[in-house]
Symmetry: C2
Subunit: 507 residues, 2 copies
């Protein structure tokens, strides 16, 4: 192949000069100056966070009216940009780190979590394969084993367990679900033949996170083959093993192939725990891949007193939880362990020539690109490492326990007021409650509680969200924000009572 000519039509002949501070991409001293400004900006934000309405009170479309139509031609100083953040962006934020944020499931930050993100962004290495930055891969494998041991995962899930298992940090539970579904799908189709893809069936309960259905849909499995098993009040809305068993039996009779089940430890609506041990006893007879989703509640399992919820995990295939939810590791950090990583890598690996290298060729190293959907990946292990080391197991357990204690305290406050009722068992740090029908006379219960919640959220003092389970509209009070203390719980209860009083016409 000969030397080729440069195509002259792409030449640029203009002049340019690079001589101002904003004209260098990464000047160390300029970074130092601006970095310190940003740290102070954030520290002040945390100091003042309670001054802002927790749930943003802006109207949709507010920001378009404040910002220009196009990017600036000339550079703008960081000081001006930070002023704009405070003036234009803050009103549009719902402050997830506010001590008065009790909505959804929390997405928890911490000093160590933010520092981990800073360090990862600063180094900005891409650890898709071992060779691309060995520390990124190796630290991830090490901290995933650390964390696995902290929650007493069976050895079969750990690199150091000697059974071939291991862990990987994904972005979100949705990614973890999709990866494991595809792994299970490919493994099964290898066995039964690819033409049987239409026969594959997956199982979940009506309380399983909706991301699971989305992952199933993306994977191309027919939605008619997605079995949503109804739950009832009798089992406190946990997945009933007998219902599962009946459904599987029926499917087999009809010529379907049971492929995958998602069990949940701590459902989104009410933090119900599916009876993992009993469920896995059923699924193992059929060779069904069981994924255990503990997105929120998994963090609690670093405390021995919560680990019994994972009984039966030894018979599952994969397990994930979000360290960014209740383990203070900042979005995003979904920890996924699999017993058989080769199922993942068989389904997801790519061996392009341009990434070929000696380490990969040995087949003895972990190339995390083959454990996930994407090629590129951030160095998230640094963040988890910093969180685990900065606080230590002892303090991390204390944080979890303090959240649970605050939830119990809130639960007591609700229980002592006969106008309210607790509407689902509290397993972790979330309390589901409502104004009781008894207090409402002939008012519509769901409608009243819906209006109560909107009334509270609109005031901006606290933020909660809702669930609708078995026809019951309930208000969810989820505690884990990093700045929440007892006084915030008491204040929240006062806000709730004040709004309820006003709506109940009590003085």
């Amino acid at each position: 192949m000969g030397t080729m000519k440069i195509n002259p039509e792409h030449e640029f002949d203009g002049q340019f000069s690079i001589n101002t501070s904003s004209s260098r991409l990464l000047d160390p001293e300029e970074f130092r100056r601006q970095g310190h400004m940003m740290v102070d900006f954030l520290a002040d934000y945390f100091q003042n966070i309670e001054k802002y309405p927790v749930r943003s009170q802006v109207e949709p479309g507010y920001l378009k009216k404040l910002l220009p139509d196009s990017a600036p031609y000339k550079p703008e100083p960081i000081a001006k940009i930070l002023e704009d953040v405070e003036r234009d962006i803050f009103p549009g934020l719902t402050h997830w780190q506010s001590p008065n944020f009790f909505a959804y499931f929390p997405c928890t930050s911490s000093t160590a979590g933010i520092l981990g993100e800073m360090l990862s962004a600063g180094l900005n290495v891409v650890g898709f394969s071992l060779i691309a930055s060995p520390a990124a891969t190796e630290l991830e494998s090490i901290v995933m084993d650390w964390l696995g041991k902290m929650i007493s995962l069976p050895k079969t899930y750990l690199f150091s367990g000697g059974h071939g298992g291991g862990g990987v940090i994904q972005g979100t539970t949705c990614e973890a679900m999709l990866c494991t579904i595809v792994a299970a799908r490919e493994q099964m189709l290898e066995k039964v033949g690819r033409e049987k893809v239409d026969k594959l069936v997956v199982y979940a309960s009506d309380q399983t996170h909706f991301s699971f259905e989305k992952a199933v849909k993306i994977s191309g499995i027919k939605l008619e083959n997605f079995r949503v098993i109804p739950t009832t009040k009798d089992t406190e809305f946990a997945l009933d093993p007998k219902s599962l068993s009946r459904t599987i039996e029926q499917d087999i009779k009809s010529g379907f192939i049971p492929l995958f089940m998602c069990a949940t430890i701590g459902t989104t609506s009410t933090t119900v725990v599916d009876p993992l041990k009993l469920l896995c006893e059923i699924t193992k007879d059929y060779g069904i891949w069981v994924h255990v989703d503990a997105a929120y509640a998994g963090g609690a399992c670093i405390c021995p007193e919560f680990q019994h919820f994972l009984d039966g995990i030894e018979n599952a295939n994969s397990f994930s939880f979000n360290a960014h939810k209740w383990l203070f590791s900042n979005l995003d950090c979904c920890c996924l362990w699999v017993k058989d990583p080769s199922a993942l890598t068989n389904a997801l690996s790519t061996r392009p020539e341009c990434l070929r290298n000696k380490a990969t060729d040995t087949k003895q190293v972990v190339d995390y690109k083959d454990w996930q959907l994407s090629l590129s990946r951030r160095f998230r292990a640094l963040k988890l490492w910093l969180v685990l080391r900065s606080y230590g197991i002892d303090n991390l357990r204390n944080f979890i326990r303090s959240h649970v204690k605050m939830a119990k305290h809130f639960e007591q406050l609700v229980s002592m007021d006969e106008r309210f009722e607790i509407v689902a068992p509290r397993n972790f740090s979330m309390v589901c409650f409502r104004v009781s029908p008894l207090a409402l006379g002939n008012k519509q219960v769901n409608k009243f509680n819906m209006e109560l919640l909107e009334s509270i959220n609109s005031c901006g003092n606290i933020h909660m969200t809702h669930a609708l389970v078995g026809g019951v509209y309930m208000i969810r009070f989820a505690i884990a924000a990093p700045l929440t203390e007892y006084k915030h719980i008491d204040m929240a209860w006062e806000v709730i009572c004040n709004h309820a009083n006003a709506m109940l016409d009590v003085n």
Copy 2:
């Protein structure tokens, strides 16, 4: 539903105290103290980055020997952790931000990019739906329009264009590809019937990024229906419209349904540009969804002189590029525009009760969870906003042009040495070269160049990677790291010549 009792078996009766600095998750003053330390740590890293071998020189498994088997029980101070980062982690890093990093495609950082990550991590809000943090969604829509205008995307791709289009920030190109494939798949199956899924065919060239094949596989489309169109030296390894046309015609005759084509602006191996205009003229007759992947080269299109490469994009359906590659926006930041977002949202939307809210119910707002695979998402728009404002269009173009000029300079150095040859046209800031067969006598050309590359990478002064195209093993020299200057190009060339000299036995 009555008040339920608290299950006493989960009670924790132990004592704990929260009184040391590491015993609070997010103390503002403690964050300030540690944050400043981290900024200085990173500034020093950038100052000293050239002292480290660019490509890590450790052996696989090195880190396990240095770190403990389990997480510490008690907290460790940040100063100690940063010492460990320097001592234990740095040797295992391949320094992607080093000015001597010319491998893969760059993943570029900048002061503004890092600050954007810091700000996003500090606020740590989750903008899955508008209501969850309106500024996160609205800023993203605004900056995606800004960036779309900067690269002169047709109005049909912009929110402000009045045709219903719009943009979203995804993590990676793989995610963007998977989302658009699933969108196209669902749209087509709605039309032709779901039982036709086995007939869907997708098209790419043998130079298309391997992530595309992975995305196709994940989506459940049969790999037998994945048409990889061979490219040849005659077209400089671009996708030949005639070959595409013939393949499509053949598929239609055989009863297949053409679904999707991926065209590339700047391929991974040699930065070839597929002839988008001609390709789209063919695909539009068949209603094929065209995704344009400009992962690396898209950044260059902020310069008017590169925008002609996008000619024809008006007839495509979606376009993505990675602002974390050549637009200085730190991993991860993949910008995806679609003409018809309803195709995405029809395929990917979920409407769970627990996320129900007034804004979503109006169907007038963007809920980005329905534009992507996952529910949760980081506030990446802040980062892009900071990059665009901190540098301005003018400087950003200058950065791109300086990289291209440096690539031309390197190209000249190679061209002037008759022992070397340029083996692919340089379109952007990457040069593909090798030691020429003429200089090697009866030595095996590919083997020699492979050994030359390994010899260079093993010394740690500079880092490059390779490609194998049309049987030719070539060394890729990709310029875009944020600290690279002319002197680094000259030094790199000297290193290359020294190694080549030694291997050619020249003194």
